[in-house]
């Protein structure tokens, strides 16, 4: 009898377990959405990180004075209009009737506070350079809805960057600890913060009191999934609705799945090679630089290494960036030409060079380096490969001691003038130039062109100057060897009628997504 009861109990338990197992998960709730991203948001302090994965999330909770639409076009945000009064002054008219999530009113003092906060070395730091150029924020003629921002030096790209400088509530930021601010964000944006477990998930809910149109998606969850096969499983089962960055090696599998819609677009980030030009170094000769450029078969890299998911680049900036020159063309692949240029330069048998690159930063970065080493071997250049984790690679870039290195770049403020300071200008600590110029590349012509461009107030004329700078660097000087733009890819789970258009800046703003069913 006793035995029988225990058997029945065990049977019931097993049955119960099977039942709980079989009941399918909570069906997708209407109006809510799950998005899987590759890199987790790092902090809830909107000024704490300038990485896209963080800005993308912050763009839902906070707003800047200006706002960029899906295509990257600049428009009004918390400011309804803006103009450059003189080379040091920018004037903004602020939006009235905006409230923070804690009920506080948005005023010009919040703008002043937020912009001045950028000068703090911690916890702001990543936006330190932008804070450093702000001199003062004052009202105009006592009108609290019109303000003038003065900069210490002429900053042509000032407004260009304001979509990612988020405005915080003065009162709640001043009264809370750094740790609190890094955990519980209070903004003016269309979504309110619910819960965040760092590196794991972030939950948002709609701000019903938003000044603009209240978005149709009411609840949103962002989960970073790093493991490629789990990402694939999550989207094929519909556990996430949108997947950002389809793993390159699993692209075909995702694309062949009839439940999934794949959306791709050229990314903003360009991958390029930096090359030393110090006298005595082989590549100080322009013919050697050209030869290396011509010996690299970019089509092959895109096809074999990137599996077709990249776009050839002839320059560092991407099309929406100020300074982009659509007339630039890549030097075409030409082994014979490269060999004869090397012979002319006095290196008929090639030379040895060390190629350094990260192995965990860009899509298939180490594999690209390997491919380049093999391609250059065909013209006699012996490449010593040195790929390493980004935590070790970037400090080396910072020391400017590399000979030849692979790096990627895009500019969040859509301004080549701002990029070139870091990438190609001669290293100059005093002026703050050349921070990411890893090979200590130096060319007075480029430096001079840049200085000329920063004195120009008229945006159109300045853009022309930057184009000239770009063209000189790419055609005449081969200051860097551009390889390709990465591809942005998204997988959308069909069946829920999700309408999603990827943004140029890869941010995922839930107000721009809608669900039809």
């Amino acid at each position: 009898m006793k035995k029988l009861t225990s058997i029945i109990v065990i049977l019931l338990l097993v049955l119960g377990l099977i039942m709980t197992t079989l009941i399918s998960g909570v069906a997708a709730v209407k109006d809510s959405i799950n998005v899987a991203v590759a890199a987790p948001p790092q902090t809830m302090n909107p000024h704490g990180s300038d990485s896209d994965c963080n800005l993308s999330v912050m763009g839902n909770i906070f707003e800047g004075l200006l706002y960029r639409d899906v295509t990257g076009k600049l428009g009004p945000g918390l400011a309804i209009s803006w103009e450059r009064v003189d080379d040091l002054t920018w004037r903004f008219t602020l939006r009235k009737g905006v409230k923070f999530h804690n009920g506080n009113d948005f005023t010009w003092e919040d703008v002043k506070f937020s912009l001045e906060r950028l000068k703090e070395p911690f916890p702001v730091s990543e936006l330190l350079d932008f804070g450093g150029i702000i001199k003062s924020v004052e009202t105009v003629n006592g009108d609290p809805w019109t303000i003038d921002v003065k900069t210490t030096i002429p900053v042509p790209y000032f407004a260009q960057n304001l979509h990612q400088i988020f405005i915080m509530d003065k009162e709640s930021t001043e009264t809370r600890s750094i740790g609190e601010i890094g955990q519980n964000p209070i903004g003016t944006g269309p979504y309110k913060f619910v819960e965040w477990v760092k590196g794991s998930y972030l939950k948002l809910t709609v701000n019903e009191n938003y000044w603009g149109e209240v978005p149709s998606i009411k609840n949103a969850e962002i989960t970073p999934i790093t493991e490629p096969s789990t990402r694939l499983a999550a989207i094929t089962t519909g556990q996430v609705d949108i997947l950002q960055d389809i793993p390159t090696e699993l692209f075909e599998t995702v694309a062949n799945n009839s439940n999934i819609e794949v959306i791709t677009r050229p990314g903003r980030r360009a991958i390029y090679l930096g090359l030393r030009n110090e006298p005595g170094f082989p590549a100080s000769d322009i013919r050697v630089r050209k030869a290396i450029y011509m010996a690299i078969n970019e089509d092959e890299i895109i096809e074999k290494i990137m599996f077709g998911h990249a776009f050839p680049a002839a320059q560092i900036p991407d099309p929406p960036t100020v300074g982009y020159d659509s007339s630039l063309k890549r030097l075409s692949y030409n082994l014979e030409g490269a060999k004869s240029l090397l012979a002319e330069a006095g290196y008929p048998d090639g030379f040895k060079i060390k190629l350094t690159g990260p192995n965990d930063r860009y899509v298939r970065d180490a594999q690209i380096c390997e491919a380049i080493a093999k391609q250059l071997a065909k013209v006699g250049i012996e490449v010593e490969l040195d790929t390493k984790p980004k935590a070790i690679f970037f400090p080396e870039v910072d020391e400017h001691k590399l000979d030849f290195y692979l790096i990627g770049w895009f500019d969040g403020s859509y301004d080549f003038g701002r990029s070139v300071i870091q990438l190609l200008l001669s290293v100059n600590e005093e002026k703050g130039w050349g921070g990411l110029n890893g090979a200590n590349y130096s060319d007075p012509t480029l430096d001079k062109l840049f200085e000329e461009s920063s004195e120009i107030v008229d945006p159109a004329l300045r853009a022309e100057k930057l184009k000239l700078l770009n063209r000189t660097a790419m055609e005449e000087k081969i200051a860097a060897i551009p390889l390709h733009y990465q591809e942005d890819s998204y997988a959308v789970y069909k069946g829920r009628g999700i309408e999603f258009t990827p943004r140029a800046d890869t941010w995922i703003l839930f107000r721009e997504i809608s669900i039809k069913k």
């Binding site: 730091s125 330190l128 890094g182 760092k198 590196g199 794991s200 499983a233 070790i392 600590e429 921070g435």
Partner: protein, 322 residues
């Protein structure tokens, strides 16, 4: 007994000191956090400003001293990246790891010892041989492969179980979130717990079987059978209890490891545990989180080992520390 515990505790403190010094020292040479912190547009002057503000310009021993002083007061500082207190970050994540480890351990203990006993009673039976062969897979297949296979079978093909995450959780006491009390939470637990536990399961199974086979041959077992004791008592009370010593040692040691090194499983299933946090911190050169994590898991492992030592005495009175 007490003397032994005290000796072990002192040893533990020394171990912790060495661990803290070593990992603090290693990270001095493992990436410069200022570069990430100051951002890609920062000038050298601004990088310097950040370095000074963070106290990273000071010599190594002063940094270590400051860290040590604060750590004793339970303050591991702010995470460079999240800009929130490190201890809070880790404590928030630890429950998830502990829950996962407990579930994995339970699966391993129940199935491992249970199957081990069954197999040892009739080692030549073909089904039992089959189980033994299966346990070889458990030992030799790497965790990530098991995890991915389970996801592919149970989530993608059969659609029984969710692919990632922890599902619905309930908050109990502060930041302690638990998934034990919701069906959704339990469903999310099954695959990762099994993945994490399968290696231990196989090890415990083989250990139990080995121990049992040896003990069952002993004279006192033969006596017990001869006395006409019921099989339940012979097997469980006389045989298993004696075969269990190495099993308990192993299980105890592994439990600490399950909490500390569940990183692979956690990253496959995107489980919001501490291992996942560590992985993110390594990617982001977030030194305070890495150091604090290693310290806290060291303490955990030391405690578990101590408990195991004490448990010995209860399982087998022959082993008592003098």
């Amino acid at each position: 007994m007490y003397k032994c515990v005290i000796t072990r505790l002192t040893q533990g403190v020394v171990v912790l000191l060495v661990v803290s010094f070593v990992c603090f020292g290693i990270f001095q040479f493992f990436g410069d956090p200022v570069l990430t912190l100051a951002g890609r547009y920062a000038t050298q002057a601004q990088q310097k400003e950040v370095r000074i503000k963070m106290g990273l310009d000071k010599p190594f021993y002063i940094q270590y001293f400051v860290f040590f002083k604060n750590a004793i007061h339970g303050d591991f500082g702010l995470s460079y990246v999240a800009q929130t207190p490190v201890l809070g970050l880790i404590l928030e994540r630890l429950p998830a790891s502990i829950e996962l480890a407990i579930s994995a351990m339970l699966i391993a203990l129940i199935l491992g010892i249970g199957l081990g006993v069954i197999v040892s009673l009739n080692p030549r039976y073909f089904l039992n041989r089959f189980i033994m062969a299966g346990s070889l897979f458990g030992i030799s297949l790497p965790t990530f492969l098991i995890g991915i296979l389970l996801i592919m079978i149970f989530s993608v093909k059969l659609r029984f179980l969710p692919t990632f995450g922890r599902g619905e959780v309930i908050k109990i006491a502060g930041n302690w979130r638990t998934g034990f009390f919701t069906i959704n939470g339990l469903r999310h637990l099954i695959l990762p717990a099994f993945t994490l536990g399968v290696y231990q399961l196989a090890v415990l199974l083989r250990l139990t079987r080995g121990g049992m086979l040896e003990v069952l041959r002993e004279d006192y077992i033969r006596t017990a059978w001869a006395k006409g004791l019921p099989p339940k008592i012979v097997i469980f009370k006389h045989a298993l209890r004696n075969a269990l010593i190495p099993v308990v040692t192993m299980a105890g040691l592994q439990f600490g490891e399950l909490i500390a090194f569940s990183i692979v499983t956690e990253s496959i299933f995107q489980w919001p545990g501490a291992g996942n946090l560590l992985l993110t911190a390594v990617y982001e050169t977030d030194h305070p989180v890495i150091v604090a994590y290693i310290m806290i898991t060291s303490i955990l492992i030391l405690c578990v080992n101590l408990v195991v030592d004490i448990l010995y005495g209860f399982i087998n009175p022959k082993i008592r520390y003098e």
